[in-house]
């Protein structure tokens, strides 16, 4: 990439890949721990409360990686690698974790693509976190039979999206502190 060029490089250097590995470990561990929290919270707070409090933690790999690496594709890779690590360290959810990770990462990537990969601030990060809620609820419907009325489904998407938004903002702020 030439100096002063507006176009960002999409080539991943060794540093970028090592940073992706760091986010994969952090998010993989969070994803694994979140299963227990989800089931406990769902029993007390119901489906909307559980989605609002825990789903965002399953989407945190994308904003964490994108805020750190700041390259096109980093959100997808961050979420997908985190999900692969989760699959390989704990069999909970099995290989479907990788399918969820890929779909959620792709949705989060759209959040940054909308801004043409020119901004990695809070706004695209929040959008990326929110968008990950859509494939998560859709895959839940197919795999876990979590199907409700259109109104209920909309509520779940909004709750999962808001949760994604909150945790994405937290991830972005954590990375911002790091870059100072």
């Amino acid at each position: 990439m030439s100096v002063g060029s507006r176009k960002r490089s999409v080539r991943y250097t060794g540093i970028d890949l090592a940073l992706l590995a760091v986010t994969a470990v952090v998010s993989g561990v969070i994803f694994t721990a979140n299963w227990t929290f989800y089931y406990v919270i769902e029993a007390f707070a119901g489906p909307i409360g559980a989605r609002l409090l825990t789903y965002g933690l399953w989407f945190i790999g994308a904003p964490l990686a994108a805020s750190l690496v700041r390259k096109p594709g980093s959100a997808l890779l961050g979420e997908f690698l985190g999900a692969l690590v989760e699959t390989l360290i704990a069999p909970q959810g099995g290989i479907t974790n990788a399918i969820y990770g890929f779909a959620q990462g792709l949705a989060s990537e759209v959040g940054y693509a909308v801004f043409l990969y020119r901004s990695w601030s809070l706004l695209p990060t929040a959008l990326a976190g929110f968008l990950a809620g859509i494939p998560a609820v859709a895959l839940d419907a197919i795999l876990f039979e979590v199907v409700g009325t259109p109104f209920e489904m909309t509520l779940w998407v909004v709750a999962a999206g808001l949760s994604g938004l909150i945790y994405a903002v937290i991830a972005n702020l954590a990375v911002k502190n790091l870059r100072r």
Binding site: T13, A18, V26
Partner: protein
């Protein structure tokens, strides 16, 4: 990789196909045989490598989750049980069975993959046989190298938090940032130098590893088992629909 006489990538394909079967399956009959086969084999093999206690805990959490989900989302149909404060309808039983069978199918097949291969060999095999991008393979391999180091970092951060009167581990959004920042900070520094080191040693010009090894008898057995289960699932469904 050659230890068990088959490629870990064959096991990965097996596990991925089984997960796809769980997504496709819309009836108990369709899922029953693959779920029982993979559940029994996976939990049998997995208990030796991962530990029986952990697997039992995993099973309890998932069965509990399936039950809660079924009561919340599928409590329709004829009433089977009236507990006073809640009625259990036929929909709950069907949804519970479906989700539990999917769990045994997906987790069982993943346990088979994890028990018969290790993470490093699997990543190598995915790169050489299935040609996943080398960037993904490098990041995954480095992630597994990082695990013990980050576990040590986490312990040190936990001690520091404890001494300050904070909780050692929390998923509370307010406290999550205070845990993530130091963990990422140490990881960031380490990744920076590891990245520079790998570039200096020629990561960008590294030749892609490609395997030309033919399928072994072990691989063929895995694919035969896979095909047999897929066929059985579809034939069972078809037979029940016709008769």
């Amino acid at each position: 990789m050659a230890r068990a006489g088959f490629k870990p990538s064959s096991l990965f394909i097996y596990s991925l196909t089984m997960a796809s079967l769980a997504f496709i399956g819309r009836s108990v009959e369709f899922l029953l045989i693959p779920a029982v086969v993979n559940g029994v084999l996976g939990f049998g093999l997995g208990s030796r490598k991962i530990g029986l206690k952990l697997l039992v805990a995993l099973m309890i959490i998932n069965v509990w989750g399936a039950l809660i989900n079924a009561v919340y989302f599928s409590n329709v149909g004829t009433t089977l049980l009236d507990l006073g404060f809640i009625k259990i309808n036929s929909g709950v039983v069907k949804a519970f069975l479906m989700v539990s069978l999917r769990f045994f199918l997906v987790v069982g097949s993943t346990l088979i993959m994890l028990s018969l291969s290790n993470a490093r060999d699997l990543i190598k095999s995915l790169e050489s046989d299935l040609r996943i991008p080398s960037s993904v393979a490098f990041s995954l391999a480095y992630a597994f190298r990082l695990f013990p180091l980050m576990a040590r970092d986490f312990k040190e951060i936990s001690i520091a938090r404890e001494e300050r009167g904070l909780k050692t581990f929390t998923l509370n959004p307010k406290h999550l940032k205070t845990l993530l920042t130091p963990l990422l900070s140490v990881g960031y520094e380490r990744a920076l130098w590891a990245g520079i080191s790998s570039e200096v040693r020629g990561l960008s010009s590294r030749r892609k590893v490609r395997s030309n090894r033919n399928l072994s008898v072990g691989d063929l057995l895995i694919f035969a088992a896979l095909s047999a289960q897929v066929l059985t699932a579809f034939l069972t469904e078809l037979t029940l629909r016709l008769f």
